[in-house]
C-alpha cells in the first residue's frame, strides 16, 4: 500500500507543504553554502571494495580486524546491511568480533603512552 500525501487530508497536506516551504531558504543554505566536499571526503574516505569486503568477511568469521580501517562507521553500516540487522539475529561471535575490532581501532588511534 502506497501511503500518499493525498491521504493526509487537505488541511494536513497544506500544513506540511507550508512548513517545508518555510524551511526552503534554510535547507538551500545548508546545501549550497554549508556542505563542504572536503569535510565530506574526510568523513567518507576511500574504502577500497576489496579491503571492505575482506574486513567484513573477517568479522563474519569471528576474527578481530587489526589492520587499518579507513572508516569504522562505514564498516558498521555495511555489517548492518549484510545481516539485514533489523530483522535478523546476529551471531554472538560476529557481535563480539565487531566490538573487539572497534576497541582495537580506538586503542590504536588514541595511543598516549610515553616511556
Amino acid at each position: 500500500m502506497l501511503v500518499s500525501l493525498k491521504r493526509l487530508g487537505r488541511t494536513r497536506k497544506k500544513s506540511i507543504l507550508t512548513a517545508i516551504k518555510h524551511m526552503e531558504n534554510f535547507l538551500t543554505y545548508l546545501e549550497n553554502r554549508y556542505f563542504n566536499p572536503e569535510i565530506f571526503k574526510r568523513i567518507n574516505p576511500d574504502y577500497p571494495k576489496e579491503i571492505l569486503s575482506r574486513q567484513l568477511s573477517q568479522i563474519q568469521k569471528g576474527e578481530i580486524v587489526t589492520d587499518r580501517i579507513p572508516n569504522p562507521l562505514k564498516l558498521l553500516h555495511e555489517l548492518y546491511i549484510a545481516y539485514n540487522a533489523a530483522n535478523n539475529r546476529i551471531p554472538l561471535q560476529v557481535t563480539a568480533a565487531t566490538i573487539l575490532t572497534l576497541w582495537h581501532y580506538y586503542v590504536s588511534n588514541t595511543s598516549r603512552w610515553r616511556t
Binding site: G9, T18, A19, F26, L73, H77, L102, T110
Partner: protein
C-alpha cells in the same frame, strides 16, 4: 614472527559471583538454576573462598542471556561478567571442569603497553604462552573489562594451583612472548606482562555436585575467615568456630578473624567451613564471612627489582589545573566548589594509574568544559551565573556516572559493593572503548587539527537515557540496551554527534549572511499546526544524512524510521518527525526544487507530493509500522496515537 590467528567462537562464558546470606548458598544455587532451563548448556556451581559465596558458570550462545541476573531473597550481592571464547582454545567449562573438585579463577590484567599498538597480536602471544605452560589444566577466555584474560585452572590441590599464580603467572615477562622488542616502547624485557592478577579458588562442593566429596581435595592450606558481626556476638562465634582454630578481634570492616596456626588439610577445612556456616545460618547480626588463603611457604620467594616507567602525555598538567580551578572556582558555592575539586582530584587519581589510564583517557576533554564554564561563571551576571552553575552541576553529575562506570570495570574486579543504575559494570570498559571509536573517527574527521579532546570535550556513557542523547557537556549517551548491539544500534549515535557539531561550531553565530541569519531566527518561531520547525533537529538530521550516511537514502530513511517508531514520543508528535524526514529527503533534491522555483515559478504541491511518495516507497517496504504511523496523522484521527491514549 607471525602471531597465531585467533578467532572468537560462537559461545561465551557467563560468570556470576554471588554473595548470599550466611549458609544459604546451596539453597540459592538450587533455586536460580531454573532460569537457564531453556538452553542446552546448564550452569555449574562452585562455593567460593573470598568475598563471594557462590560462583555460577554457564556457557551461552546469545548476548540476551547476559541479562538473566539471578533474583533471590537470600542473595545479597551479584557481580557478573561475560567472557568470550577463543576458537580452538576456550573449552566449554561445564565439560572441561567435570571431575575436578577445585578451580582457581585468575583474572589477568595485561600491561597497557602491550594492550595498545600490537593489542591482539600481543594478547594472542600471551595466550599461546599460557597454553604452552599449562596445557589442558588451563582454560582461557577473553575479557572485556579490567581483565583481558580469564584463566581457569583445575585440579585437586589448592596450594599447588595458587602457587602457579605466584610462581609462574606473576613472573611472566615481556621477554617471554614472541613480539618485536620495539613494541615494548622502551620498557625492559624484564617488565611483568601483567599489572594485576586476582585469584579466586572455588570448590565443587559435595552439596552442589553429587559426584564430588571432600576427600577428593588434596594438600594443605593456611586459611583465615574474616567475620563481619554485630557487637555481643563474639562469644557465640568463638563457641561455633572450627576445632584447632583460634578467634581474634580485628578492626576495620571486619570484626573477628578465625585463623589456623598450622596448615590444615584442604578437605578438612572445606568441611569445617561448611559446618561452621551451617551452624550460624539465620543468626541475626552475622552479616558476612570472607575466607582468605595464605601461602604455605613463608615470605616471598625472592626480592624482585621494582621498575617504574609509567607516564602518559597529558594535555593539561595537574598543577596548572589545580591553580586554575582554585582561582576560577572561587565564585562557586563552597559546597559545589568542594564537590568539583574532589571530583577532579579523583579523576586525576584514576587517570594517572597505569591500570586505569586507558579507560579514563576519553574523559580528559571534560576539563576543558569545566574550565570554560568556570570562566563564564567568573564574568556572569547573577542570573546567568545561576544558569551556568546549573549546567556545571548537570555535567558533573553525568561525569560522576561515567567515572563510576569506568571505575567499576577496572578497579574492583568483582568486588564492587555498591548498587548502581547500570547492571553490567564489571565488563563494560571494552564496550565503552569500542563505542568511542565512532565519535573518535567522526570528530577527528570533522576537526582534523589537534587532538580529539581539543575538538570534542565530551565522552560517552551507557545507560543514562532511554534513547541516544546529546547531553550537557557534549556527553553522548548510549541507551543501556545498545551495549551488546553494535551492528543493530550503534549507528544511532551519529545523529547526536551532529547535534554536538551544531553547537561546537556555533552554527547559528557563524552564518555571515544577515538575511539568512534573520530568516533562521524567525523560522524558529514558526509553527504550522503541529509542524514545529526545530532548527537544531533539522540540522542534525540533514548533517547525519549528508555526511555520516553519505546521502545513502536507501539505508538512512528505513533505518531512522525503524528506530523512531519504537518511541512513544514519535507517535505523539508524528507531524514533527514526518516533517524532519521529508525536509532531509527533500534537501537531496534542492537543486531540482531550486530550479523549479526560479525557472518555473514556486514549488508546486505536485512536486512535493512526488518527493513524499518517493520517500515513502523507500520506507514502506522496510518498516511495516510506517503505514500505520501515517494513518495516525490523518486529520480525523488526531490525538488517537496507538501508544498515547
Amino acid at each position: 614472527m607471525n602471531p597465531p590467528l585467533y578467532r572468537i567462537d560462537n559461545n561465551a562464558m557467563l560468570v556470576f559471583f554471588l554473595r548470599t546470606k550466611v549458609g544459604k548458598e546451596f539453597e540459592v544455587a538450587d533455586k536460580i538454576r531454573s532460569r537457564f532451563a531453556s538452553i542446552q548448556s546448564q550452569p555449574i556451581y562452585f562455593t567460593c573462598f573470598g568475598r563471594y559465596d557462590l560462583l555460577e558458570l554457564v556457557m551461552v550462545n546469545s548476548h540476551t542471556l547476559r541479562h538473566r541476573v539471578p533474583i533471590n531473597e537470600d542473595i545479597i550481592e551479584t557481580s557478573s561478567s561475560l567472557f568470550y571464547s577463543w576458537q580452538g582454545i576456550s573449552k566449554p567449562v561445564d565439560k572441561w571442569a567435570v571431575g575436578s573438585p577445585l578451580l582457581v579463577a585468575v583474572f589477568l590484567n595485561v600491561h597497557p603497553i602491550l594492550i595498545e599498538n600490537p593489542r591482539f597480536e600481543a594478547e594472542t602471544q600471551i595466550i599461546h604462552l599460557l597454553q604452552q605452560r599449562f596445557g589442558e589444566d588451563a582454560n582461557i577466555f577473553l575479557g572485556m573489562g579490567h581483565s583481558e584474560i580469564l584463566l581457569l585452572f583445575k585440579g585437586r590441590n589448592c596450594d599447588d594451583l595458587l602457587r602457579k599464580v605466584t610462581d609462574q603467572i606473576r613472573k611472566l615477562k615481556f621477554g617471554d612472548i614472541d613480539i618485536p622488542p620495539e613494541s615494548f616502547r622502551g620498557c625492559p624485557s624484564e617488565t611483568a606482562i601483567f599489572i594485576c592478577t586476582t585469584s579466586y579458588p572455588v570448590l565443587a562442593h559435595p552439596t552442589l555436585r553429587g559426584d564430588q566429596s571432600y576427600e577428593k581435595l588434596e594438600g594443605y592450606i593456611v586459611p583465615e575467615i574474616l567475620i563481619d558481626c554485630a557487637p555481643g556476638l563474639e562469644d557465640y562465634i568463638v563457641e561455633k568456630s572450627p576445632q584447632h582454630s583460634r578467634v581474634r578481634n580485628v578492626y576495620g570492616k571486619y570484626d573477628l578473624v578465625i585463623e589456623w596456626v598450622e596448615p590444615v588439610k584442604t578437605s578438612t577445612f572445606a568441611k569445617e567451613l561448611t559446618d561452621f556456616r551451617n551452624s550460624i545460618v539465620g543468626k541475626i547480626g552475622i552479616n558476612s564471612t570472607c575466607t582468605m588463603f595464605k601461602s604455605l611457604n613463608t615470605g616471598l620467594p625472592e626480592k624482585a627489582p621494582h621498575t617504574t616507567f609509567w607516564g602518559m602525555t597529558f594535555p593539561i598538567s595537574s598543577s596548572y589545573l589545580a591553580k586554575e580551578f582554585s582561582e576560577l572556582s572561587a565564585r562557586l558555592d563552597p559546597v559545589e566548589r568542594g564537590q568539583l575539586l574532589d571530583f577532579l582530584g579523583r579523576f586525576d587519581a584514576y587517570y594517572y594509574r597505569p591500570e586505569s589510564q586507558s579507560f579514563f583517557g576519553d574523559m580528559v576533554g571534560l576539563k576543558h568544559t569545566v574550565l570554560t564554564v568556570l570562566e563564564q561563571i567568573q564574568g556572569a551576571n547573577p542570573e546567568d551565573r545561576q544558569l551556568w552553575q546549573t549546567y556545571l552541576s548537570q555535567v558533573m553529575d553525568l561525569a560522576n556516572h561515567a567515572v563510576y562506570q569506568r571505575y567499576a570495570g577496572i578497579e574492583t574486579h568483582f568486588e564492587f559493593d555498591q548498587h548502581v543504575p547500570f547492571p553490567f559494570l564489571c565488563d563494560i570498559n571494552g564496550y565503552t572503548s569500542a563505542a568511542n571509536s565512532i565519535p573518535l573517527f567522526l570528530f577527528k574527521s570533522f576537526f582534523p587539527e589537534g587532538t580529539l579532546n581539543d575538538s570534542w570535550p565530551g565522552f560517552i556513557l551507557f545507560g543514562q537515557s532511554y534513547s541516544y542523547q546529546w547531553l550537557p557537556g557534549h556527553i553522548l549517551s548510549f541507551q543501556a540496551g545498545a551495549l551488546f548491539r553494535p551492528i543493530q544500534d550503534w549507528w544511532g549515535i551519529t545523529h547526536e554527534i551532529a547535534h554536538s557539531i551544531y553547537w561546537l561550531t556555533e552554527f547559528l553565530e557563524t552564518i555571515e549572511d544577515p538575511e539568512i541569519s534573520d530568516y533562521i531566527t524567525k523560522m524558529g518561531n514558526i509553527t504550522e499546526q503541529d509542524f514545529l520547525i526545530d532548527i537544531a533537529e533539522i540540522f542534525a538530521n540533514w548533517f547525519d544524512y549528508k555526511y555520516f550516511f553519505a546521502g545513502n537514502a536507501q539505508l538512512y530513511f528505513p533505518i531512522i524510521w525503524r528506530s523512531w517508531l519504537r518511541w512513544e514520543r514519535v507517535w505523539a508528535h508524528a507531524p514533527q518527525y514526518l516533517l524532519r524526514s521529508l525536509a532531509t529527503f527533500w534537501s537531496g533534491y534542492l537543486g531540482e526544487s531550486y530550479n523549479a522555483q526560479y525557472t518555473s515559478g514556486p514549488i508546486t504541491a505536485e512536486f512535493m507530493e512526488n518527493k513524499f511518495d518517493q520517500m515513502n516507497r523507500l520506507i514502506l517496504g522496510a518498516v511495516p509500522d510506517y503505514a500505520r504511523f501515517i494513518e495516525t496523522i490523518r486529520p480525523d484521527q488526531k490525538k488517537k496515537y496507538p501508544y498515547c491514549n
